[in-house]
Symmetry: C2
Amino acid sequence: MVFYLIGLGLGDAEDITVKGLNTVKKCVRVYLEAYTSILSCALDKSKLEHFYGKEVIMADRELVEQRSDELLAGAEVSDVCMLVVGDPFGATTHSSLMLRARDLGIPVKVIHNASIINAVACCGLQLYSFGETVSIVMWTDSWQPDSYYDKIAANRSRGLHTLCLLDIKVKEQSVDNLLRGREIYEPPRYMSCSEAAKQLLQIAERKEKAGVQPAYSAETLCVGLARIGWKNQKIVSCSLSEMVLMDMGEPLHSLVIVGDMHPIEMDMLKAFSTCSHS
Amino acid sequence: MVFYLIGLGLGDAEDITVKGLNTVKKCVRVYLEAYTSILSCALDKSKLEHFYGKEVIMADRELVEQRSDELLAGAEVSDVCMLVVGDPFGATTHSSLMLRARDLGIPVKVIHNASIINAVACCGLQLYSFGETVSIVMWTDSWQPDSYYDKIAANRSRGLHTLCLLDIKVKEQSVDNLLRGREIYEPPRYMSCSEAAKQLLQIAERKEKAGVQPAYSAETLCVGLARIGWKNQKIVSCSLSEMVLMDMGEPLHSLVIVGDMHPIEMDMLKAFSTCSHS
């Protein structure tokens, strides 16, 4: 039979495709991958179970990456699926799982859906004018990587926009609990547009101190996107320094560093963001 | 009321989301935008009408771009929608239509779906490792633009993959018919992976003749993607010179010029393309 990877899209239970829904209904086991994104208010396990009329099993990173044989068990004789928020390839490729299925002779089929990678264009900026996507990670006192800066700089030197995916910490252990082998997990944390903007400006400041002209400044236009695809999505365009002070509300947030704009993009950005400056 | 832009996804009628389907059912008029992409065998107007149980009106470029007030008429009192293959923002932003709706005080809502921009990752290459997307246009004897070459070169210099969207000519008039004002349209034409690879190699040859080291060569690895999301989708990875000879079958085709690969990407590309070389 088939192992299906089914995209749930970005919003609520009804954002699954008709094909995806029909497939879920015929599967003997339905997993929900829930560690690379977050579910919206209308997308929690019980609401999905109610919508599908069947049990949904939570799949954490360990099950997907370390115990994939358990997840795939029986898929050679009955259909099994894993639901993924967005597109199955949006946030992560689930490569090891797909390759493992392939090794076991289980056909893999993908049912695509929207992900932030294409839905970001709802802010009015053209998908064609985006460069490489970057991930901005949460800093700690001792670990402050900034390698994504170079990618943003390379995009800006070509006039391109940069989609910044913001860090998510789900089911993380504190160093202390990790060392003591205690399976106690920290509450989930999601980086906000404000935190990302602050971090980006700190990097620019460091570059300046090192005698390098930074690729962006406090005045650079950015777009904050919160809860895209949800009923209460919020899109705000403002300068990076204004974004530091902006409350975009609940997660999930993404941030776009705007490159050169076509006049139509300016009009669209003004029309489709709550408060806009250009 | 609301003007809805509804993504149809890439495959057949069942790739619409449940939310999209419910929205179509409550709209007084349903348009189908059909000039920026093509419909698959299971996505023609009559099959959609059968699936939705209501009339679907074809919207050509002229209706969308020049007669948008006609399309939007009545949307202030009843829901109207336009269906778009892929994501509403994937192939084109429909910006003028959205801005016009905004001017008329008609709320615009978007129901996202998959587009080639994110679905391309089904070949095994990571979305994060793609640079700027380019469009490759069909050449004529007198018009052979190659500005996308610079974008591919810039992506390659950073080790990034390039998604090349291939030209579509739908409802085009011959110069003769255009000059005589005759509304006679040429049969639709779709650029193939083979044609795109050939054109890209011609550009490389010209660069070489001009004394410039081209950014790719006949040996460069590429991925041909045909009919992605359709039941008979085909993914082939091979060298550019091999792609020139490759028959990928019916449209729609896209081509990826591969940049630097992570070992996992190599494994995925091998596993998920019909014939692979790396």
